[in-house]
């Protein structure tokens, strides 16, 4: 994984609560066996009209949205299906962080594993960001766990220490778990399995 660096970006605002992963990428696109090429299908059913043309009113299609790296979303973003295709599609489109008051558990875990930073802010900061003028930027500093609002307010956000370490250093979790093979073997020896699914 490439290390997560500090950056600043304008915002794309999606003022909806409970955006589910079926909206982030509809199920019919999950027949792929690859991780790639999902950016085209990000928010597909909101983004394209019945004929498959981009809907000009959807925020992702507006010229000023191009190159933006931060999505500002409503409460409980990423609920529903566990599909990791959701953070894959978001990062492939160019997002590096999503800001909300809360995230669904599985989406949050999937995002952290794909260098997409879920930033939880309190309701007043959330409201301030939604009210911010178009085109203004936020600064994101992961080592210090701070978000600087366009108004200059520096807001701390929570990230668990391990995820932060993995993101900042580019550490891959599987590599970390593999190093613990002796402990895993000890657990297995002490806890014999009650099933053999192959039988």
């Amino acid at each position: 994984m490439t290390p997560f660096t500090n950056f600043e970006s304008r915002l794309i605002k999606l003022p909806l609560n409970n955006v589910d992963t079926d909206q982030i990428i509809p199920a019919r696109f999950l027949k792929t066996t690859s991780k790639q090429g999902l950016d085209k299908q990000l928010f597909n059913d909101w983004r394209y009209d019945a004929a498959g043309n981009p809907s000009p009113e959807f925020v992702l299609n507006q010229p000023e949205s191009q190159g933006v790296q931060v999505l500002l979303a409503g409460d409980n973003f990423g609920c529903g299906s566990s599909r990791e295709h959701a953070p894959w599609a978001l990062t492939q489109w160019g997002f590096r962080a999503v800001i909300s008051t809360s995230f669904a558990d599985i989406f949050q875990q999937n995002s952290l594993k794909n260098s997409l930073l879920p930033i939880i802010v309190p309701p007043d900061v959330h409201a301030e960001l939604f009210a911010a003028a178009p085109g203004v930027v936020v600064k994101i500093d992961l080592p210090n766990q701070t978000l600087t609002t366009p108004g200059g307010r520096v807001v701390e956000f929570p990230v668990d220490a391990f995820s932060k370490h993995c993101l900042v250093k580019g550490v891959d979790e599987l590599g970390y778990i593999l190093e613990q093979a002796p402990e895993i073997a000890a657990y297995e020896a002490a806890n014999p399995a009650s099933i053999d699914a192959r039988a």
Binding site: P15, L16, N17, N18, D20, D22, Q23, P26, A27, R28, L30, K31, T32, T33, S34, K35, D45, A50, G74, D75, N76, C79, G80, S81, S82, R83, E84, S102, A104, D105, I106, Q109, N110, K113, N114, D160, A161, F162, H165, E173, L174, Y176, I177, L178, Q180, A181, E183, I184, Y187, E188, N191, A193, S194, I195, D196, A197, R198, A199
Partner: protein, 466 residues
């Protein structure tokens, strides 16, 4: 210190804990399906890794599999490639695969329990958010993403942070026409779809104890729709009776030892939960959803909310947007609303007891000629049992389609789907925009409500037909 079953399950699966890192937790059963696994197997290949415990891993084909005659070729080339890939991956990595032509194929959350693989005291994962279904056995079962699927394949472990404990106590007797599905829809309507975020539910109380295993699975299945990654029911004699004699259940002396172990699992007297909520089963009514998330549910006779009466602007916009998508007006009940399709199936309600319940109402009746009614058993085993009981004849005589097992119109990946604008009453678990087909509109309800609505062609209170 007295512990909840959730804490007991957690404690007994700790491989180890290191400062500054999440707990390394051992996984007893890993279920795999075609949609969320190909990229994980590819990851193993790229790193030159093996599957650590093929004996604790099983795969099936369910999401993108057609529910038409299995002897016909699969026409969707992309789905076919994905299904072939699953067989190839399982062959290469030594995993048993209950694929397209297996006599044990079925929805991943239906086959685990029916094969006796899901057992009390286990940790169970799957790259699928409805893995909580297996919690009905007193297992800690939760959905994971594809990166985690790869981690479990390679190490049989996951890095996890402890969840909060959330007791959902259901007491009393369900009235006629009210079922397990209505309990869980009522819970989600009450706490909202983010209400359980960060928690594991334990469902307790006399109503839950009185439910059979199929119904307990219905309740646990939709825990994720309340935001909770896992939900469970402590095992009891009903659990043990279900498991006895299943292909992978322990036999002989091992069975007796297992029962003794499983009896230690229930929450200790005096153990504290982080949160508690109680539901009065006596006053529950059949539930139905009207909106575009499972928390947007009401009693079948109740009026839909009026957006103008919702104070929070973003919540108001969400309801306004949902009602607009659904083509509905606030303030009126859904009763009598015309429908186009009824879907009886999914990992929530495709087990034998669900099919018996629906068939019981449909027997000797006809479904409305305006409605397409699909009945999709959860597995080949459910299908065999249904045939043995004569259920397909009842469904066909009533005018329903009786199809092959799979996820089908729950997720609409396999061609079973609504057309834009169509309405369904569905026994599945999600009513998100486009979930059952682009532009489709879903009312989630119980098998009884679905069967009743199939007969009349409009959203119906089943109690008027009992």
């Amino acid at each position: 210190m007295p512990r909840t079953i959730i804490e007991k399950l957690w404690d007994s699966h700790i491989v180890h804990e290191r400062p500054g890192a999440p707990t390394l937790l051992f996984i007893d059963l890993h279920l795999v399906h075609e949609v969320t696994s190909p990229q994980a197997f590819q990851g193993l290949r790229e790193r030159g890794l093996k599957v650590r415990r093929p004996d604790l891993t099983i795969a099936t084909a369910d999401h993108s599999i057609p529910t038409s005659d299995r002897s016909l070729p699969i026409v969707d080339k992309i789905a076919l490639k994905q299904l072939d890939q699953l067989e190839t991956n399982c062959g290469e990595f030594g995993i048993r695969c209950l694929g397209v032509h297996s006599s044990q194929q079925g929805i991943v959350h239906v086959i685990g329990p029916e094969l006796g693989l899901t057992q009390p005291g286990m940790t169970v994962v799957c790259g699928d958010s409805h893995t909580a279904t297996h919690g009905a056995f007193g297992a800690l079962a939760f959905g994971i993403g594809t990166s985690e699927v790869e981690q479990v394949l390679a190490t049989q472990c996951l890095l996890q942070r402890k969840s909060k404990t959330f007791q959902v106590q259901v007491e009393g007797r369900l009235g006629a026409g009210v079922s397990a599905k209505d309990i869980i829809l009522a819970l989600i309507a009450r706490i909202g779809i983010g209400g359980g975020t960060g928690s594991v539910f334990e469902y307790t109380g006399s109503t839950i104890r009185a439910l059979g295993m199929d119904e307990r699975m219905t309740v646990c299945n939709m825990s994720i729709e309340g935001g909770s990654r896992a939900g469970l029911v402590a095992p009891d004699d009903i659990t043990f009776e279900y498991l006895a004699g299943r292909p992978h259940a322990p036999k002989g002396a091992a069975w007796d030892a297992a029962i003794a172990r499983w009896k230690q699992l229930p929450t200790d007297e005096g153990a504290a939960y982080d949160r508690c909520l109680s539901i009065d089963a006596d006053t529950l009514e059949p539930m139905i959803t009207y909106g575009t998330n499972p928390g947007m549910g009401v009693s079948i006779n109740a009026p839909l909310p009026e957006p103008s009466q919702v104070a929070d602007p973003m919540a108001r916009d969400s309801i306004t947007k949902a009602l607009a998508y659904m083509g509905l007006e606030g303030g009126k009940p859904l009763l009598g609303h015309p429908i186009d399709v009824v879907f009886i199936g999914s990992c929530t309600n495709s087990r034998i007891s669900d099919l018996r319940t629906a068939a019981g109402l449909l027997k000797g009746r006809k479904v409305s000629d305006k409605v397409r009614v699909m009945v999709v058993p959860g597995s080949q085993e459910v299908k065999r049992q249904a045939i043995a009981e004569g259920l397909p004849e009842i469904f066909r005589a009533a005018g329903c389609e009786w199809r092959e097992p799979g996820c089908s119109m729950c997720i609409a990946m396999n061609g079973d789907q609504l057309s834009p604008g169509q309405y369904s009453v569905s026994t599945s678990n999600r009513n998100f925009e486009g979930r059952q087909g682009k532009g489709g509109r879903t009312f989630l309800a119980s098998p009884l409500t679905a069967a009743a609505s199939a007969i009349t062609g409009v959203v119906t209170d089943v109690r008027t037909l009992l």
